[in-house]
């Protein structure tokens, strides 16, 4: 059975290997260029550091995002071109009648195909992820947005889970709908829905977020995008704690007693001398409430999401075995 699985998979394996080799060459080249430039940014003269950092960001954000999208697309392609046709092609060419009447049960046929090809899917995507994670490591250190939707999904171990899930999803959809094109379209749609819902709705609840009180000071201002104020209150927008995943987009700035900080108070602190202004504001003990997932949870999140996708893969596979045994005749 392993021989037959390999014989039928040979061409696809060759195509995947060629594609992976091309990606590898590009990523090794990109990775070494990023490393060279990163050394330059670290050793910059203070006067040109801001420009150097911007140039570094500009130079690689686009390229790394593009490769990241490609890595996220890899499981989709695997689900569509390896998973969905696995059974439908047999049904459409009626070779199921040939192969399922040899001395091998359908359950064993499916088990061999699923194990072997899921491993292949995980290996291809895993190598791609390893290469991209290495290539982008300096950039990620520097930009530090590891929880970003694109960044999180295209680094380290989660892509392995996506690959396994997408492949088995394609196989099971094909088993049920029995037609190649329909199975491919449904696989694409189903996987896209999952990949939209998980990062946007589910992921932030994987662990209970932390809510803490953050002092509103210069450091807080430097980590935010904007600050707005009127006579009813003040708002800090886009504050991000270092390496964390912000779940608060904007927060009201509050006095020590919890009342909103207003423009009237700000005017009262206008002493004319900047140092005195700042001392006056600091004396108010201003703060805001901030909800986030701490930076240290990056790896727990990677492992939880990988495990969840692998568990879903196993459930789908179990359903596939039940279906091929009791429903496909």
């Amino acid at each position: 059975m392993i021989w037959l699985t390999w014989r039928q998979f040979r061409t696809q394996a060759l195509v995947a290997t060629a594609a992976l080799a091309a990606v590898a060459i590009y990523l090794v080249y990109l990775g070494s260029r990023i490393r060279d430039d990163y050394t330059g940014v670290l050793g910059c003269q203070p006067s040109v550091c801001v420009t150097a950092r911007h140039a570094f960001d500009d130079a690689y954000t686009g390229q790394l995002s593009a490769v990241g999208v490609l890595l996220i697309a890899a499981p989709v392609l695997i689900g569509i071109f390896w998973g969905a046709p696995l059974i439908t092609r047999e049904l459409e060419e009626r070779t199921d009648r040939l192969v399922w009447n040899q001395s091998v049960t359908r359950t064993r046929w499916l088990a061999t195909k699923l194990v072997f090809l899921t491993l292949a899917s995980v290996a291809v995507t895993g190598l791609f992820s390893l290469l991209l994670t290495w290539s982008a490591s300096r950039y990620d250190q520097f930009i530090g947005n590891r929880f970003g939707a694109l960044n999180f999904a295209s680094r380290n171990v989660v892509p392995l889970g996506y690959a396994a899930f997408a492949f088995v999803l394609g196989v099971v959809i094909g088993l049920i709908v029995r037609r190649t094109l329909l199975a491919m379209a449904l696989t694409l749609a189903a996987f896209a829905v999952v990949q939209l819902i998980v990062p946007n709705v589910v992921r932030e609840h994987l662990m209970t977020p932390v809510t803490s009180i953050v002092a509103f000071d210069e450091d807080a201002m430097s980590r935010s995008d904007a600050f707005g104020m009127n006579d009813r209150g003040a708002t800090i927008v886009g504050y991000t704690m270092a390496g964390a995943w912000s779940l608060t987009d904007e927060a009201k700035v509050l006095n020590a007693d919890g009342t909103p900080y207003t423009s009237r108070q700000a005017v009262a602190c206008q002493k004319g001398v900047p140092a005195e202004n700042m001392a006056c504001v600091a004396g108010l003990n201003l703060h805001f409430i901030y909800t986030y997932q701490p930076a240290g949870r990056y790896w727990p999140f990677q492992w939880i999401e990988l495990s969840a996708y692998l568990a879903a893969t196993l459930l789908l596979a179990a359903f596939g075995f039940w279906w091929i045994r009791y429903r496909s005749s």
């Binding site: 009648r97 040899q102 001395s103 091998v104 005749s329």
Partner: protein, 278 residues
């Protein structure tokens, strides 16, 4: 356990429905071992359904079926005992003839490699040839070779000659008879033309309108059916026109041949279904 007297196929009230369509109904059969069974009926009569039920790729919705004493497709051991060639002899277009033999060898514990290689050689098939490039007759022969070298106890062939030209038909059936004798297997083969099968089969099942119309060993069937143009004794039953079933001898009766016999039952079923619809 299977013994020499275990029937190859035994069904009781077997039926298969697809939604509201009845593909096979109330089928009760007992096929003894060692026969070459002809399964005949018009297109859509339920032949493929019955064969699918026999090898286990179709699950029954009513009644029971045992093949060689077991539930069809019940496990690897049962699969090994039944060889099946589906209609149009599907093979993997992208795999070569040699690949197909390798497939058979890898997937069947009782694979008879010398038999497979001998047959491929005798049929003049090029082992390196892609199966997708074979002619219909060559494809049928390749599929039959895989089923035969599996060394099953029962071979099921669904419309094996439908896509072949008359010359290839004769060659295929002749060849089939040869190796059936050599391997000592039971065979079931279906066709919508009784003319294809009458020279090879010694057991006949006529299927029409999803029901079994007639079943039995050919010699027994020919013994109780006659051509009678005149009046009938009370115990005799007129099947269609001059074909008559009577256990007792009928004065002035002529013998009937198998093709006319099958045709009479199929025509009667067709007339009944038209009458029923009207």
């Amino acid at each position: 356990m299977t013994t020499a007297t275990t029937p190859v196929i035994e069904t009781g009230g077997l039926g298969k429905r697809y939604g509201r369509t009845t593909a096979l109904a109330d089928c009760t059969l007992r096929v003894p071992a060692g026969r070459i069974v002809g399964l005949v009926g018009p297109n859509g009569a339920g032949k493929s359904t019955l064969l699918g039920l026999t090898c286990g790729i179709v699950a029954p919705t009513a009644g029971s079926i045992e093949v060689l004493g077991n539930r069809p497709g019940a496990g690897a051991a049962q699969l090994a005992r039944v060889g099946f060639v589906a209609q149009d002899a599907p093979v993997y277009g992208g795999l070569s003839v040699a690949d197909h033999l390798r497939l058979g060898a890898r997937l069947n514990p009782r694979w008879d490699r010398p038999l497979a290689e001998r047959r491929v050689k005798r049929l003049g098939l090029d082992p390196a040839q892609k199966a997708g490039r074979l002619s219909g007759g060559q494809r049928a022969q390749l599929a039959l070779t895989i089923a035969a070298a599996k060394r099953a106890e029962l071979l099921i062939l669904d419309e094996p000659v439908a896509s072949l030209d008359p010359l290839a038909r004769r060659a295929f059936l002749h060849d089939l008879l040869d190796f059936v004798a050599e391997l000592g297997v039971s065979v079931v083969l279906s066709s919508h033309l009784l003319g294809d099968l009458e020279k090879v089969c010694d057991h006949l099942i006529v299927l029409a309108s999803a029901r079994v119309q007639l079943a039995g060993d050919v010699a027994d069937l020919l013994a109780v059916h006659h051509r009678v143009t005149g009046a009938l004794p009370p115990s005799a039953e007129r099947i269609h026109e001059d074909v008559v079933r009577s256990d007792a001898a009928v004065p002035g009766a002529q013998p009937v041949d198998l093709e006319d016999l099958g045709m009479a039952y199929m025509t009667r079923a067709a007339v009944a279904s038209i009458g029923g619809a009207a």
